[in-house]
Every structure is written in C-alpha cells, then in structure tokens.
C-alpha cells in the first residue's frame, strides 16, 4: 500500500518548521515518527498535500529535571521515555506506559508528542498525561502557550492545537514516591488497549481511561468519589459514569463498562498499595 503523492520538506529547526507550516496551506501536516500518520496515509484515510518532517529536531528530544516537574521534549521517542532515569524516579507511570506502547519497533520510531497531538482515544500516553496532571507547551505564529492536558483533548482525533501550532514540550509535575498503576487490557501482546486505566495516588490523585469514549478521558466520577472518601470498590463502580464507550470488533459498550470498573478497581488497589 502506497500513500497518495505529497511534497516533502524536512525542517532543520523549529522556526523553519513553523514557517513551512504556515506557508504549507491547509493540507500540510507535520510528521514526527510517522507511526500514526503513515498507516492512515497508506490506507488513504489521510492524504496531506505536504509533509513537514520534524523528526530531525533533536533540540526537541530531551528529558529535563525542572525542579518541581520533569519536562519532556515532544520529539522524544517512546523508547527514550521508557528508559529515562529521571522519569523512572519522578514519573514512573509515564516511563512504564511508554514501554507498553505497541512493540519495540514502534517504540523506536514513535514520539510522545506525536501520540499526544494525534489524540487517539485508544492511545496510552495521553491517559498517563491526564492521570499525572500534565500540561503541554505549544508554539505557533503568535508565540508560545501552555495547555492543560484536561483541556487538550476535544473530540475524536481533535485537540486544542491549531493547525499552525507545534507541540514542543510535555510538563509532568513530579509524582516522586506516589502510588501508580497502569492496566492495559488487550488480547494479543502488541495490540492497542481494548480498555486501559492509568492511576496515580499520592499528593494528587488522577485516574484516566483509554478507549472509553471519543477522547482520552479522566474518570471524573471515580476521582470525585475518592475525594469524597469512598472506598476503592465504591469509586471503581463509578468508573464509567457518564461515559459512552465505543463499540468495535473487540468489545461492546457494555463489556467496556464492565472492563473499566474491574480495571479501575485493580488500578486503585495497586496504586494504593504503594
């Protein structure tokens, strides 16, 4: 399967990427690792007129200790997030989740920024970012802004980024020593989650869900129940409250609701035991 033809430009730095993006017109698209975009292009579900390759922006591949937070460059590959010692110490949920994405080949190419900008409800890293209370830095023609993860995922594959903006950095508040858990339920090793749960319990509590609606989601009813003093079992029973999970080959909505409740309970128990 071959994608439809497109023009290809490789950006040497962020400024060049921004100007290529604003000059490229409506159908220009950024490509980072290409591991969400190329499969769509091969199926002709996407046919951008121009690809702007930001894969060589090495300045945007980093993990930095920022004192009360860890900053991760948008172009940092899943493999590099997985093995980074700073993240393992201060946000172990994120490095663990990066190690659960797809398979080693996918993790050698895919980037954290690409995963977040794509905004797929079935993807793992956005859920981890929601649970950790992350925020995202983006740069556009009118400068830089910071968007909270909770305000970022707007609809199916739709985010708060405008077409001329580039996601540059993921800010993760440190969760050193906090309890955490990631529950990914799938039937074959490399598959996407049928349902997944990311949980953090410590000074801040965050519970989020994979594949339970049109976007990566927070389990707000569970979070509220925990804040109100509910037991883990009571809070878990409310995991799917207000949600409208999708139906596909793998699972009906009813089965997904059941999975969410069971997986949230397991996640709360595991994260609470730390």
């Amino acid at each position: 399967m071959i994608p439809a033809a497109f023009d290809y430009r490789r950006a040497a730095n962020l400024d060049e990427a921004l100007s290529l993006l604003s000059d490229g017109g409506e159908d220009a698209k950024l490509i980072a690792g290409g591991h969400s975009l190329l499969p769509l292009m091969k199926l002709r579900l996407a046919a951008p007129s121009m690809l702007i390759d930001i894969g060589r922006l090495r300045d945007l591949s980093f993990v930095r200790d920022g004192g009360d937070h860890v900053a991760v460059g948008a172009l940092t590959r899943h493999r590099d997030v997985e093995i980074d010692e700073t993240l393992r110490a201060h946000a172990p949920l994120l490095s663990h989740v990066a190690g659960q994405v797809g398979d080693p080949q996918v993790r050698h190419r895919g980037t954290i920024g690409g995963s977040i900008a794509h905004g797929d409800p079935a993807s793992d890293l956005p859920a981890a970012c929601l649970a950790l209370g992350a925020s995202f830095k983006a740069v556009g023609p009118s400068g830089e802004r910071t968007i909270e993860a909770t305000d970022f995922f707007e609809g199916f594959l739709e985010t708060a980024l405008s077409p001329d903006e580039i996601l540059t950095e993921i800010i993760i508040p440190k969760a050193t020593g906090a309890g955490w858990s990631f529950q990914k339920f799938n039937r074959r090793a490399q598959d996407w989650a049928i349902v997944g749960v990311a949980a953090v319990r410590g000074e801040r509590t965050g519970i989020s869900l994979v594949n339970m609606g049109p976007t990566p989601l927070r389990a707000t009813a569970t979070e509220a129940a925990l804040a109100g003093g509910a037991t883990d079992a009571e809070a878990a029973a409310r995991a799917a409250e207000g949600l409208d999970p999708p139906s596909d080959l793998n699972a009906t909505p009813e089965y997904r609701v059941h999975l969410a409740q069971v997986l949230v309970r397991r996640a709360l128990e595991e994260a609470g035991a730390a």
């Binding site: 399967m1 071959i2 994608p3 439809a4 033809a5 497109f6 023009d7 290809y8 490789r10 490509i31 290409g34 591991h35 190329l38 499969p39 091969k42 199926l43 690809l51 390759d53 894969g55 493999r79 797809g102 398979d103 080693p104 080949q105 996918v106 050698h108 190419r109 090793a189 490399q190």
Partner: protein
C-alpha cells in the same frame, strides 16, 4: 527527492518519490529482497530491519525519513559468504523456522533485542519479539534460538 543512505556498509544514493516506503526502496531500488513484506500494515514485523542499529518496521517509514542513516538488512548480518551471524546460526541450530517467511524480520528484531537486553529472560524474549508474527513455528524454537544466541555471548549488529 534525493536519498543517501548506507546499506550494509555500502553507500547508496537515489532519487525517489517522497511517498516511497523504506521497504520498497530497499527491495526495488537497492535490490535487496531479503527483507519481506507480510502485512504491509505495521503489524507483522516481516519487514523489520535496523536503522542506525535499532529495529524498525520498514513498511512504516519513508525512505526520505531514513536519509543519512545506516541501514542493516538480513543480507548485511553475515560476516562472509561462508559464515553466518551468531543469530542466524542460532536459528539454524534450534530449528527456529519452518516456511522462513517471518525469519529475516525475526532475526533482525532479535539482534536489536539482544543489544538492548544482552541477557534476557525467556519472558523478555517473548515480549521483545511481540512485534513479529510467525504463522508456522508457534514461537517456541524462535525463543530458544534467541536465548541460545544470548548465552553464546556478544551478538554484533
């Protein structure tokens, strides 16, 4: 668009359409057909080769994205005509293939795996090969082969 890469140590330079996938570039332009295409949808791993030493599914990368990279394919592993790479040797020793279609990708993924985990457990081998499907062997002997290669010592790329 011009692409310059090193394939199995030899410099290559060609004009390609930007939409050319790396696997088609390697097979049809460079002419090395050891890298197979199985699913063509990023799932099976048959097209796995090494880009700058790391395993990559070459059906899910553009040739232009590889510009400047060092690529190793199954043809580039063996040190000479008469000698096999230790991972190839281990696959033969442990009968780790039947039809052989998945084998080039499996071997390349296994070489990359041992670079990241030189002494893997059986579970780590199974997980490390999760991106590669085999329709024949049931994986058992493949896992044995990778463990055998690991125990035999350093596996060069």
């Amino acid at each position: 668009m011009k692409v310059s890469v090193t394939v199995n140590g030899a410099p290559q330079e060609h004009e390609v359409e930007p939409r050319t996938l790396l696997v088609y570039y390697i097979r049809d332009v460079v002419g090395l057909t050891g890298t197979n295409i199985g699913c063509d949808t990023s799932s099976c791993g048959a097209c796995t080769l090494l880009v700058d030493g790391e395993s990559v599914k070459s059906c899910t990368m553009l040739a232009v994205q590889a510009d400047g990279a060092e690529i190793t394919t199954i043809e580039g592993l063996a040190p000479s005509e008469s000698e096999m790479h230790p991972m190839q040797e281990a696959f033969r020793e442990k009968h780790a293939l039947q039809c052989g279609y998945c084998t080039p990708g499996m071997v390349m993924a296994a070489v990359s795996l041992l670079q990241e985990h030189p002494n893997p457990t059986e579970a780590e081998v199974r997980e490390g090969l999760e991106g590669n499907l085999c329709r024949c062997t049931g994986y058992h002997n493949i896992v044995q082969a990778v463990l055998h290669a690991a125990s035999a010592g350093s596996v060069p790329a």
